[in-house]
Subunit: 315 residues, 2 copies
């Protein structure tokens, strides 16, 4: 494999983080850049929480929690004490996780952009890859439901994704500018990967930032999306329910259609091999492989399989 | 003793909290109101910290830390994790203490005034007395030094009170209005106590809030100040150094002079009995007693001695 391969990945949360965990076993971690969604960012009691960035950093540091978010074996002294004070504790922040949010908030309060605070946090956790927020500007994802607009964490964590989604709104999109390094990481990549993340609330917010979609369209590197839907189910999260609510086919093909014109390759799980022809008809080449990322070996195998299929590394 | 005695105390941090700890053993805690300084309040990484209010609440709850602030036997998981992330940790926040700051910040973010958040925190800790911030408005104490103006916590905790003080500034004083209950607690009191707190950075900020000084001057109840200086030394904190730097006599008399015209009684420690004549010449009656508050028994004895001297309870 060419260790010099520069891989840039458009990343949401857990699915992207797991793919990245495999990727850095296959290529030089220092040549990997993750462009991360900030649409889930929110203020938790005054603290700036960046759930997707944290999930990516924790996973690459090998310290992620059991369910993909938070820190493994974290304690909850603070949260328990807050509950004793009568505070609702729907957002489960562990003590050491809290240190991340406090550190980020301190740096933002001191005037640093989110990208600089993110670089410090990644480096402090020993992460060699470049972790970039897609933008340093506020760029929240609002989930439009029958009950009204909800901030993403309100919809996803507090209300457990139980509302029927009718659409999304990105009120910060017009003013958001790409964070330093984002467009360069796309233009200079040897491979661009759209992670197996939610197309509506992880990937689309990235594409909404000025210049990002155009940079991907203009990139010379092969562009590949890994389906987040396998056998008609989302591996994690509300992607399948969102596809259905918004009138899309609930399948890997339904997602592929959203990426038509944006990527050269689409990766289907073996379970969905029968969809290959339909996806190819969208103008993409198809790679069929095992996309289930249970454990580090399978994650590395997926990354290797995807990168070699698109010619970014030797098979 | 008349259990109905309503005692209102002007309170700074540790000294006031210890006096209060004695007071609630002598009178009905539910009839005690503490009007607390908010000049030390500051934003710690996005969280609203109210050091004096917390010290008063923790002490009345019997859970205060060894040195009078923070919580006893608190852990420091979060702070250690922040230090590991490279964050300076000059302000020593324990995990359960952090829950207080998060809860307060959450309530302020939800639109509650500081007084309401304070009431919730006091009640949750089982404190029966009324704990009031002097104002719900921002009212910081700025310490003027040769190095420029410093916020109080920056001066006191971060720089360890090592700068020479040339004065104070209260930029919020003009706009600050008394919190609900403050003026009523003064007007309706059977005794008004100025706690043995720093006259410049604990008591004066209270008097700077519109209507507070006038309410004390107009009060029908006996007004008594307990000297924070004993034998020319401050029991705790920088009061003695501030007296000296600002050209005052470094003694209980030096503080008494600051309260001339405001109080009817002044409490001297037995060590300072020789100052009684000079203090009386300022127009105050003097009560000499043991003012050292080492341990709950001595604290209660001081409160009993002070209240009976001024006729607020039977001897």
């Amino acid at each position: 494999m060419p260790p010099a391969s520069r891989v840039t990945i458009l990343a949401g949360g857990v699915g992207a983080a797991r793919f990245l965990g495999g990727l850095v076993r296959v290529v030089d971690p220092a040549r990997v850049t993750a462009i991360c969604n900030v649409g889930d960012d929110f203020a938790w009691n005054g603290l700036h929480v960046s759930p997707d960035i944290d999930t990516v950093i924790y996973t690459l540091a090998g310290i992620e929690g059991e369910f993909g978010w938070g820190l493994r074996d974290d304690t909850r002294t603070v949260l328990d004490a807050m509950e004793a004070l009568g505070e609702p504790a729907w957002f489960g922040v562990g003590d050491r996780d809290l240190a991340t949010h406090l550190t980020r908030t301190a740096r933002l309060a001191a005037g640093e952009p989110l990208s600089a605070a993110t670089a410090v946090l990644a480096s402090a956790r020993g992460v060699a890859s470049t972790i970039l927020p897609v933008t340093d500007d506020p760029h929240p994802t609002m989930v439009v439901t029958a009950e009204g607009e909800l901030a993403f964490q309100e919809y996803f964590v507090h209300r457990r994704a139980s509302d029927t989604v009718t659409g999304f709104r990105f009120p910060g999109a017009e003013a958001a500018r790409p964070a330093p390094g984002v467009l360069d990481a796309i233009a200079g990549a040897d491979a661009i990967v759209i992670a197996p993340s939610n197309p509506f609330v992880s990937i689309d917010p990235l594409l909404q930032v000025e210049g990002v979609r155009a940079a991907i369209e203009a990139a010379r590197a092969p562009r590949v999306a890994v389906s987040p839907i396998v056998g008609g189910q989302a591996i994690k999260g509300p992607a399948a329910a969102m596809l259905e609510a918004l009138g899309h086919e609930v399948s890997a093909f339904g997602v592929a259609r959203l990426y038509a014109g944006l990527v050269d390759w689409y990766v289907l799980d073996e379970q969905d091999a029968a969809l290959a022809g339909a996806v190819e008809a969208l103008g993409m080449r198809v790679h069929v492989t095992d996309t289930m990322m249970t454990g580090p070996e399978r994650r590395a195998a997926l990354a290797r399989s995807v990168l070699s299929a698109i010619g970014a590394i030797d098979a």
